[in-house]
């Protein structure tokens, strides 16, 4: 055994550097709170306070432009809205729009994702190209579609004309105007559904398909019993996001139809805008907005419970 080398000086014992001086009253939780407080203050200032302020206004007859004090009117604003036939009409228009647009986007988005997921070459490029509409501002999208859909000057009718079809009144025909909104929204937001669905499809374990192949399962069987059940929860999340977005549609209506012909494409959000900024009935508009938030929260709760059950089942 070799004798220990006495020339090597023993290492100094490891000593932790002195801890930063901390105030005795500032515990870990306090410090955490201190770090979180700026974000919390911003959230309170930008989200919670306006919400509470709108809630307060919703019980008054306040008008933002009139220099008169707000008078407490209790639930009058809420009752006016719930009893208004104009609001019922806009609710139906909004419902038709949401179901039509989100339904079409789901079918198309999932189909495109399914096709892309099966293709290996050029998949990245195709995905990027498909995502382009989603990256554009809705106002820009609305403006160029307005030009494209114009009956007299638009490229769509010009194209249809060259194919021998007649002129279509996309934005001024009562039956077609809402469909046009659905088409434009679908053009822009189908990629969102596609993206989520693609993520779900990519995550399906390959061995399940291999096992199904060994069992000689048909293409439909594989889709019905492997692909769809595994992608469905993710797809439902995408549908939830899109439905909430579609429910508060404003920009496309404002740019493309101004709610017309007449009020046939006036959605709830567009109607709130008119109440708030044409008549400046701020109290009434606040109640209208609060009711819309409540409706979205209730529907989202039902939806999330269904999702939970799906996950547990």
């Amino acid at each position: 055994m070799a004798a220990p080398d006495s020339s090597i000086t023993p290492a100094a014992p490891l000593v932790a550097p002195p801890a930063a001086r901390r105030l005795r009253w500032l515990g870990d939780r306090g410090l955490a709170g201190l770090f979180v407080s700026p974000a919390l203050a911003l959230l309170l200032f930008l989200s919670v306070f306006p919400l509470l302020w709108a809630l307060y206004l919703s019980f008054t007859d306040y008008s933002a432009t009139r220099d008169t004090p707000a008078q407490w009117v209790g639930l009058d604003n809420y009752l006016d809205i719930l009893k208004s036939s104009a609001v019922h009409d806009r609710a139906i228009t909004t419902l038709v729009y949401v179901v039509g647009a989100v339904g079409l986007q789901t079918v198309l988005g999932f189909s495109i994702a399914y096709l892309i997921s099966r293709r290996v070459r050029g998949r990245g490029l195709m995905t990027t190209l498909f995502l382009t509409p989603m990256m554009l501002s809705p106002v820009v999208v609305g403006l160029f579609w307005k030009f494209m859909l114009d009956t007299q000057f638009g490229v769509i009718n010009s194209l249809l004309g060259s194919l021998g079809f007649g002129q279509v009144e996309w934005l001024t025909n009562q039956r077609l105007a809402l469909l046009s909104l659905v088409i434009v929204d679908t053009w822009q937001w189908t990629p969102f559904i596609m993206l989520i669905a693609l993520a779900g499809l990519t995550a399906v374990p390959r061995y399940l398909y291999e096992a199904a192949s060994i069992d000689r399962a048909s293409e439909w069987f594989r889709f019905r019993h492997i692909t769809l059940p595994l992608v469905w929860p993710l797809l439902l999340i995408a549908i939830l996001f899109r439905a909430i977005e579609a429910f508060r549609l404003f920009d496309l209506v404002y740019i493309l139809t101004q709610g017309g012909p007449g009020v046939s494409t006036e959605t709830l959000s567009f109607h709130v805008y008119k109440v708030a900024f044409l008549g400046f009935d701020t109290g009434l508009a606040s109640a209208y907005g609060i009711l819309m938030v409540i409706v979205v929260i209730i529907l989202a709760q039902f939806y999330l419970r269904y999702l939970d059950r799906l996950r547990e089942g």
Partner: protein, 471 residues
């Protein structure tokens, strides 16, 4: 620490936060209560004389909507006004037409404006005055403006509140603005296809448009405003209503029901929907100023109706397919005052200048000085030569104006025939009701008679409620 104590502390902290927020809400609410002295509306009064002007650099800002006169005003003011006030730069900010009312009144709602001179549509005056958003210019007008130099109705329409009877001015009423730009509709017709003489009556005009459409395949007879936004479809109906002897309301007792939808009103709606609309191009149900100009410039229509201040581009060869020079285009297009029928009225367009109550005092003084400068006879003539439509009678009759554009004589002829809408505080709601219903009738979404009756009932409800309500 006991977990129960922790929970209690958390609850207490949450309660304290909510209490603080509630206090903040209450504090904000109490701000409203302090606005009591302004509750009566009417705005603060501007001094009779222009106050001392600042020598510091000032940007005098306007807010208008995006159309050719806005740029013309900015160029004109920076070329001429700055000779008198070199430290001043004039900036005319613009927004899209449908945002015009919102852009101005949302800033009024914030009690802080980034404009000194809001350019209001004549019908917006009531809302701005009632809310106390603009200065009372009565003393200023009395001391600085030669009111006899104007057609009384032009002064009344662009500045007076409460509203004047059509064609008149109440010299005792308060003034809140002065004219910036006069305007009305002109009829533009294809001289090369329909002859040099304009149709004499409205019925003749429809017949001539029908004939022209029949004789020229691919062309439509008429182009006019039908859109849902701004006041487009409503002005069209109001025009036809006036031509057939109808009235929009009786101002004295604020009566609309039974007035707008009387026999003359129903006749006007029938003519508009069943005689004029079939002559308009397919899909023109959302047309406004630009689309009508485009249809005329592209040779798609025989007769078009548009605001005079917006048709400058019609003679521009770069925007027209009717000729390669303005002279060549002018040989094909004629401009005339609207034909009458049972009555002889035309729509009043144009806007007035007002002074924001919320502008800094130096800017308010500069705004008053600008208005005083602008209303001088020689400046009005220069404005006419620069493409503007002045309001002073001497400027309207001057060669500078009459020879500046072929349509200027149309305006000069139309001044005694002008009729405005309501300028009450509920204007925005009234116009929306009329716009949506007329647009619905024009696009087949509503029976025309039903649309007019709905207009009457809904507008009356708004006036009776004097404000709130869902329409």
């Amino acid at each position: 620490m006991h977990p129960g104590t922790k929970r209690w502390r958390r609850k207490a902290a949450t309660a304290a936060t909510l209490a603080a927020l509630a206090a903040a809400v209450a504090a904000c609410g109490s701000d409203d209560d302090s606005g009591g002295d302004a509750a009566a509306g009417g705005g603060e009064a501007a001094p009779g004389a222009v106050p001392a002007l600042s020598d510091k650099p000032i940007e005098l800002s306007f807010l208008w909507f995006e159309w050719p006169p806005a740029q013309a005003l900015e160029d004109f003011a920076n070329e001429h006004y700055t000779k008198e006030r070199p430290n001043v730069t004039v900036k005319v900010n613009t927004v899209p037409n449908p945002n015009w009312h919102d852009a101005i009144f949302t800033q009024f709602a914030a009690r802080k404006t980034d404009f000194d001179i809001p350019i209001l549509d004549s019908q917006h005056i009531g809302e701005a005055v009632t809310n106390g958003n603009i200065l009372d210019l009565t003393d200023f007008v009395n001391e600085n403006i030669d009111t006899d130099a104007y057609d009384p109705y032009l002064l009344a329409a662009y500045g007076q509140y409460p509203q004047a009877e059509t064609g008149q001015r109440d010299p005792d009423a308060k003034m809140y603005g002065l004219p910036l730009l006069g305007d009305t509709w002109t009829m533009v017709w294809r001289k090369d296809l329909m002859g040099d003489e304009p149709p004499a009556t409205w019925d003749d005009m429809i017949a001539a448009a029908q004939k022209c459409q029949d004789e020229n395949p691919g062309m439509s007879g008429l182009a006019f405003h039908q859109a849902n936004g701004s006041d487009a479809a409503a002005v069209t109906y109001n025009t036809v209503n006036g031509v057939y002897g109808g009235e929009l309301w009786t101002a004295a007792d604020k009566q609309i029901e039974g007035v707008i939808n009387n026999e003359a009103g129903q006749k006007a709606m029938d003519v508009l929907v069943n005689q004029m609309k079939p002559l308009a191009p397919k899909g023109s149900g959302n047309w406004f100023i630009d689309e009508v100009n485009a249809a005329i410039g592209q040779g798609k229509v025989c007769v078009g109706f548009n605001w005079i201040a917006a048709i400058g581009g019609l003679l521009d060869p770069e925007q027209s397919q009717l000729g390669k020079t303005p002279e060549a285009i002018e040989k094909k297009l004629g401009f005339a005052a609207l034909p009458g029928q049972d009555a002889d009225v035309v729509p009043l367009g144009g806007m007035g200048m007002h002074v924001s109550k919320y502008a800094p005092s130096d800017d308010q003084a500069e705004a008053l000085n600008f208005i005083k400068w602008f209303e001088q006879p020689e400046v009005q003539k220069m404005w006419a030569a620069a493409g503007g439509v002045p309001a002073r009678t001497d400027a309207l009759e001057s060669p500078e104006f009459l020879e500046a554009n072929p349509w200027n004589k149309v305006y000069a002829e139309s001044v005694p025939r002008l009729r405005d809408m309501w300028n009450v505080p509920e204007y925005a709601k009234l116009i929306d009701i009329e716009n949506t219903n007329v647009n619905a009738a024009l696009n087949g979404a509503k029976d025309p008679e039903q649309a007019l009756n709905d207009i009457a009932a809904e507008q009356q409800k708004v006036l009776d409620a004097s404000g709130g309500g869902l329409e």
